[in-house]
Amino acid sequence: MADTQLTKKDFASDAEVKWCPGCGDFAIMNAVRSGMVAAGKPRDEVAIVSGIGCSSRFPYYMETYGFHTIHGRAAAVASGVKVANPKLDVWVISGDGDSTAIGGNHFIHAIRRNINLNYVMINNKIYGLTKGQYSPTSEMGQYSKTSPYGVIDYPMAPLSVAMGVGATFIARGLDSIMKLSTEICERGAKHHGFSMMEIYANCVIYNDGAHKALSSKEEGPNNRIIVRHGEKMIFGTEDQLCLVQDGFGIKKANVADVAEGDILVHDEKNAEMATVLAAMRPDADLPLALGILYADDSKKTYDDMVYEQIDSVKAKRGRTMDQLLQEGHTWTV
């Protein structure tokens, strides 16, 4: 089969998918398959690495090479896979607990190194596989089995963390907006560098409705903004709202109340803008930013630099193994 003829269906394995009916992961899997089609690699040059969690069963459902590893460490394992064989298209599928709690260290350092991985973090703001405990992205006050009186940890904003360690691509999607998730996965797949894709998903069993304020027909559009490079930041059920600069920050305004030229235009290459967008939250009277917030592939990837360095040292030193073994003070008996 020629690479170009692959479709999403070709990336589906014959394993039975065992997520709960209605789980947000189904839609995300669909989007990831689109991303793989877009990347244009044959299936045997694609590897998916996952950690532990509901989302981490993902590799079993994909007709590619797959490695279901251990809790929190997928980013580190995937870094090894990619550096060992940079020709592979390597994806990491992780969840909010896997990425930001137990695996927080690997998550930030993989981003910092700008290893050319496609990293999908499915954020349902709960531990599902262990049946309902709060995670580092759970909201203050959220009830769960380990927070029967409400969460008193402040939540983490994974995309803000990503920008803080020099991310080159950050995007945020929502399971219910399929088209956007697909667009994110396709762009992320093509990005040369670490593609950080956070996709909000609904856990129907343990955190149902966690993203309702974003996804509902009535209120959702007023609480979220889908940003697109070069387009004005306008949102709302009737496109009545917009974002404008406010001193050092950003604020929500009615389109009718501002001059057209004051409405901010999204620039996906602007790191400062991305940093502000990543941190916006509805409870601070700003819409949650969705879409590709930042994409800049001018930075070299770690995996490229590993081999550039090897080549340059080879050119400079170029020892043979025997020369290496025999270096230093030697003598003959």
């Binding site: 045997d44 079993y60 797959g66 260290n105 360095q309 090897i310 073994l325 003959t332």
Partner: protein, 623 residues
């Protein structure tokens, strides 16, 4: 002129250097090691330094040491009690003089014995004058004075001149041990002269002069009545270099990569005393060795597992606390059944313990430090030079059996050095037969099954990403014994658990049989493993010379045991296992061989001395 200083033939000399850490003790020790080795002696050395980078100068806590044994025969340890102690300050004298052989020589820098320095270490008087060192042959040399004199016309600060005392000392020792001075002059030239990476002509000149001043001092003063002359050791012919265990392991990693045709890969994190391995290996970029210094120990092993999954020859390097952190990921390599070599340079534990001191207390961690039934082969290096072979063998078995292998070395052999017969790449075993990736073109008409096994080794069929048409999924959940699909079937788990264990057990059948040093049967058998090999070998040799009914056996693979071990054990009345732990191998031997092993434990951050083993054996013999 001390022309009549007697030249005495010696079989072996034990020398110890002691001074402030940061004062170049390891450097001068390594120089004398190289000098002796170049002169044909066999040498074994043991560095000993505090965990602080620059502990307060002049204090006991800040003393750094380097002990070595030079001989005209095969030398297995850095020696018991020094014949010659070179102690550069009062702290070093206080720290190390008690170890010196009665009547042994103590060379020291008289200029360092200031009132303040003496006070710092609690000497009330000057030990050079008040009889504290009675019974030793003390050579108090005013090193600073002599070096400054020798360098009088050089435009350098006194502090820089004083640093040349090490080469002055080398001059004295070169004379004392009747060594070829040109070797040291060449060394100075290589290190600081025009050919050096960073030429420092003034330093080269100053050190050359200081060295010559030291030589002349030995020759012209009447301080030394005796010189030592060691003959060349009868060692196997070939090209040699002096090497530390950590450097030898690093070389083996690169070599195994080349001989397997796979890209060698190290995922690691710095930890004492394993860090030198990573330092040296990081220089091998021109040989295609990929090193990733990760954010932590767990990431170190996880990237290595990832690299193994992608078909590299993967290694991770660490020490005790790091091995503890790698636990779960080691189990991952085991259940995925991918080759991985974990080099663990043991140090004093538990927890942070004694980072710079040696111990063998990770054996049970290596055996059992994972959840579930998770056996993996364990090989132990027995000397610095042997770290090369142990690491290379570890890689071979990892590839052949598709299993993680633990290579145990320790601070003593990892940082100690000895001459190493340099192999040529042609001489090393070809590892390509053990790679045999599964490719569809080699198996026409067959469907790839990731957990189908070689009936003999039980190694699974291994296809790596990028192989056309055989994309598949594997993971850390229990897998079907053939397809690798997730399986919670109880009988399947029984089969898989038994198979993983059998894979390691079966290895015993193909391992080399344990060799006995001495007679096949007798009163006492002393079993060594890893770093205890040297002291046990030396002790058993001496006991046999004395006509005692004692034999020795060394365990190269600590797990599984060699197939003939039980048989050997059954032919001796008593079994002794000296270990730098509280009896970990003894526990395994008792469990596996049902034998009442006597354990000789030592956990003082210091390797065994031969006499400690000899004393224990004599006690067991009732003598």
């Amino acid at each position: 002129m001390a022309e009549n200083a007697k030249l005495t033939k010696s079989e072996q000399i034990v020398v110890k250097f002691a001074g402030d850490s940061g004062d170049g003790m390891q450097l001068i020790g390594n120089q004398l090691t190289a000098l002796a080795a170049l002169d044909g002696n066999d040498v074994n050395s043991l560095p000993d330094y505090p965990s602080e980078i620059r502990a307060p100068s002049g204090t006991i806590a800040g003393v750094s040491g380097f002990q070595m044994c030079l001989g005209d025969h095969k030398i297995y340890t850095a020696g018991d009690h020094p014949d010659v102690l070179v102690a550069f300050n009062p702290a070093a004298v206080k720290h190390s003089s008690k170890d010196v052989k009665p009547g042994g020589m103590i060379i020291t820098n008289a200029d360092a014995f200031t009132e303040k320095a003496l006070e710092k270490v609690g000497y009330e008087g000057n030990p050079l004058e008040d009889g504290t060192l009675k019974g030793y042959d003390v050579k108090a040399i005013p090193m600073f004075t002599l070096v400054r004199e020798a360098l009088a016309d050089m435009d350098m600060p006194n502090a820089a001149k004083d640093r040349c005392k090490n080469f002055f000392t080398m001059g004295v020792l070169c004379w004392l041990f009747n060594k070829e001075q040109q070797l040291v002059l060449d060394f100075i030239d290589e290190k600081f002269g025009e050919k050096a990476k960073k030429p420092l002509p003034q330093v080269a000149e100053a050190n050359t002069r200081a060295f010559k001043a030291g030589l002349n001092y030995g020759e012209t003063t009447i301080m030394f009545q005796e010189r030592y002359d060691l003959g060349a050791a009868q060692i196997e012919k070939g090209l040699y270099r002096n090497i530390t265990g950590n450097d030898a392991s690093a070389l083996a990693i690169a070599a195994a990569g080349h001989k397997s045709g796979l890209q060698p890969f190290i995922g690691s994190y710095p930890i004492t005393p394993a860090t030198d391995l990573l330092h040296y290996a990081s220089e091998f970029k021109d040989l295609g060795l990929v090193t990733m210094q990760m954010e932590d120990e767990i990431a170190g092993i996880c990237t290595a597992v990832g690299a193994a999954c992608a078909g590299n020859l993967a290694f991770t390097t660490t020490s005790g606390p790091g091995l503890a952190l790698k636990t779960e990921a080691a189990g991952m390599a085991l259940i995925l059944e991918v080759p991985l070599v974990i080099v663990n340079v043991q140090r004093g534990g538990p927890c942070t313990g004694l980072p710079t001191k040696t111990e063998q207390s990770d054996l049970l961690q290596a055996m059992f430090g994972r959840n579930g039934d998770s056996y993996m082969p364990i090989i132990a290096a027995l000397s610095p030079a042997d770290c090369f072979d142990a690491t290379y063998q570890g890689a071979k078995i990892a590839l052949k059996y598709r299993t993680p292998v633990i290579v145990l070395t320790d601070g003593y052999i990892g940082q100690g050095s000895c001459p190493w017969k340099v192999p040529t790449m042609d001489e090393l075993e070809d590892l390509t037969p053990y790679v045999n990736f599964w490719k569809p073109e080699d198996h026409p008409g067959e469907t790839y099954q990731p957990y189908k096994r070689d009936p003999e080794t039980l190694a699974r069929d291994w296809a790596v990403p990028g192989t056309k048409g055989v994309q598949h999924r594997i993971g850390t959940l229990e897998k079907d014994a053939l397809t690798g699909a997730v399986s919670h079937d109880p009988m399947n788990h029984q089969i898989m658990t038994e198979t993983r264990k059998a894979k390691v057990d079966n290895l015993a059948a193909v391992l080399p049989e344990a060799e006995i040093n001495g007679k096949d049967s007798g009163k006492v058998l002393v079993i060594s493993w890893g770093g205890t090999f040297g002291a046990v070998k030396g002790a058993v040799d001496r006991l046999i010379e004395d006509g005692k009914s004692v034999s020795g056996v060394n365990l190269r693979w600590v797990w599984p045991f060699p197939p003939n071990l039980g048989d050997i054990i059954s032919r001796f009345d008593k079994i002794l296992v000296p270990e730098l732990n509280m009896g970990q191998l003894s526990l395994l031997l008792r469990a596996k061989c049902l034998v009442d092993v006597q354990s000789l434990s030592k956990v003082q951050g210091d390797p065994f001395r031969e006499y400690e083993v000899i004393d224990k054996v004599n006690e067991m013999l009732g003598e």
